[in-house]
């Protein structure tokens, strides 16, 4: 028996003739931080959107904690804290009021709002209207919305976008500490291996909708060494993997 909390089986998403995600099978271990890596437009966000029921797969299926969409939609979403693409908020409400809406939907105690604000360092700006937040503050508010109530599964799509270097460092450390603190599983996407490398236990590399690699960071290091790259330079390994895939794609297109 495996202990995968999220499992996708040949997940595919097509928009007319464009294939955004192609036969992707992910295996995310319970309690791990899974880095989902790929260049812009690789299909990371689309995969995450499918996991959250924001878009329906064209083919394939997935399981989250043994449950499936659409039958178990509400019970899955109760367990998942998410942050996809850009932060979502009510512009007419303050940061605190925005989190209070989420708290009420999730049926959490009142102190959950303050706890979430504190976690992302927004306590002193909680009473400011969300539309007046800077990009970094909106990003933090979005993260607070995902973290509120300590969900057992977190799906975070490029959560450090728009943050300054110290903010990136702070949020990275926070994300890294979450599995030990709350016993949660994190699926986090990024287009920078250097960032994922500092947080993740396992990684999946996606390019043009195809999963090029899935495994542990050590596995990727071994792969790098076998391919003649320095084991401490995974960024080059990642870029060459993507370039190689792009080149073979071009070759196929020419043929």
């Amino acid at each position: 028996m495996n202990n995968y909390i999220i499992k996708t089986m040949q997940l595919t998403k097509k928009y007319k003739s464009f294939v955004a995600v192609n036969d992707v099978s992910l295996h995310i271990r319970k309690g791990s931080i899974y880095g989902f890596l790929g260049p812009n437009g690789a299909g990371k966000s689309t995969t995450m959107k499918m996991l959250l029921g924001l878009t329906a797969p064209t083919k394939g299926s997935f399981e989250i904690d043994g449950k499936q969409f659409p039958n178990d939609r509400l019970s899955i979403l109760k367990e998942v804290g998410s942050f996809i693409e850009s932060p979502s908020f009510y512009a007419n409400l303050t940061g605190r009021e925005n989190l209070d809406i989420i708290r009420r939907i999730l049926g959490l105690p009142q102190n959950a709002v303050e706890e979430a604000l504190e976690l992302v360092g927004l306590s002193e700006f909680g009473s400011r209207l969300a539309k007046k937040y800077s990009l970094g503050m909106k990003q933090r508010l979005g993260l607070a919305g995902a973290l509120i109530g300590r969900p057992p599964i977190l799906i975070l799509d490029e959560p450090t976008n728009g943050l300054d270097p110290s903010g990136i460092h702070e949020i990275r450390n926070l994300i890294k500490s979450l599995p030990d603190l709350y016993d949660c599983t994190i699926l986090i996407s990024s287009h920078m291996l250097s960032e994922i490398e500092l947080m993740a236990n396992d990684i999946g590399i996606l390019n043009h909708g195809h999963l090029l690699f899935e495994g542990s960071l050590d596995g990727l290091r071994q792969n790098a060494m076998q391919s003649g790259f320095a084991a401490d330079n995974l960024e080059d390994m990642f870029l060459s993997m993507v370039d190689k895939d792009n080149a073979s794609r071009k070759q196929r297109a020419i043929l």
């Binding site: 979403l77 998942v80 009510y90 989420i102």
Partner: protein
């Protein structure tokens, strides 16, 4: 009930509730001022006093209500699209059709309060300004119910349209186009034109007596139900990707 209380909290600072109250107060003030200024002219019309009271000032009140409903429904969905808040709602364990229904319910109650304020003013005029013994409370209440029922298709239509477009100017434009086309089509006595929700709302304004037309009432109820269910179905099955 929980969904409704959450929805009410979201309305904070959007102006939906003050807007509808303002429409009710403006309509009531218009009726009162109109009767102060034009009382003799109005009561000398060749119509029964109750018909004068209910049909002669209704045109303006109805237009105020119509624009109130158009703007309020645009606002009530625009706040969901403005900061992509609706996307977060899709990712939370919340029923999206319930959210749609709560918005429908809030606007319906606000319209009821608006019409209530306007008919309170009309009742005051009826008691103080109509010739003695001519004021009929039953007729006033039945016409109030008639104007509420005939306004509901526009409300249901506007919420449905507003829920489909992220850009608030599109439903607003559709609302204005609905009003203009409704004005052009309301006068002819062709029943099938009442499939147009704005024509249904305009019907009591072009009538010369205060007797509700039951065909119009039935059409209004059918249209409201169909549009409400279309909105609920869309909320459940279609997502903005």
């Amino acid at each position: 009930m929980r969904a409704l209380s959450i929805e009410l909290r979201k309305e904070k600072r959007t102006g939906v509730i003050p807007l509808m109250l303002a429409v009710g107060i403006m309509g009531a003030a218009y009726a009162l001022i109109n009767f102060i200024v034009r009382k003799d002219t109005l009561l000398n019309l060749p119509l029964a006093p109750m018909d004068v009271l209910l049909t002669q000032v209704y045109g303006m009140i109805m237009i105020l209500n119509m624009f109130g409903v158009i703007v309020a429904s645009c606002i009530i969905y625009n706040m969901e699209f403005k900061g992509c808040a609706v996307k977060k709602m899709y990712m939370l364990p919340m029923s999206v059709p319930a959210m749609y229904f709560c918005k429908f319910l809030i606007l319906t109650v606000m319209l009821l309060i608006t019409i209530g304020l306007q008919y309170l003013a009309l009742a005051k005029i009826g008691i103080t300004d109509l010739p003695k013994g001519t004021f009929e409370l039953g007729t006033l209440l039945s016409f109030a119910g008639y104007s509420f029922t005939t306004s509901m298709p526009v409300l249901a239509f506007m919420i449905f349209v507003s829920s489909q477009f992220e850009n608030m100017w599109i439903p607003l434009g559709i609302g204005v186009a609905g009003f203009l086309s409704g004005m052009a089509l309301a006068a002819p006595d062709i029943k099938w034109l009442c499939v147009h929700p704005f024509v249904v709302m305009l019907k009591p304004a072009v009538a010369m007596n205060a007797q509700p037309d039951m065909t119009i009432v039935i059409m209004a109820l059918v249209e409201t139900t169909v549009l409400l269910f279309a909105g609920l179905w869309t909320a459940k099955n279609l997502r903005c990707e």
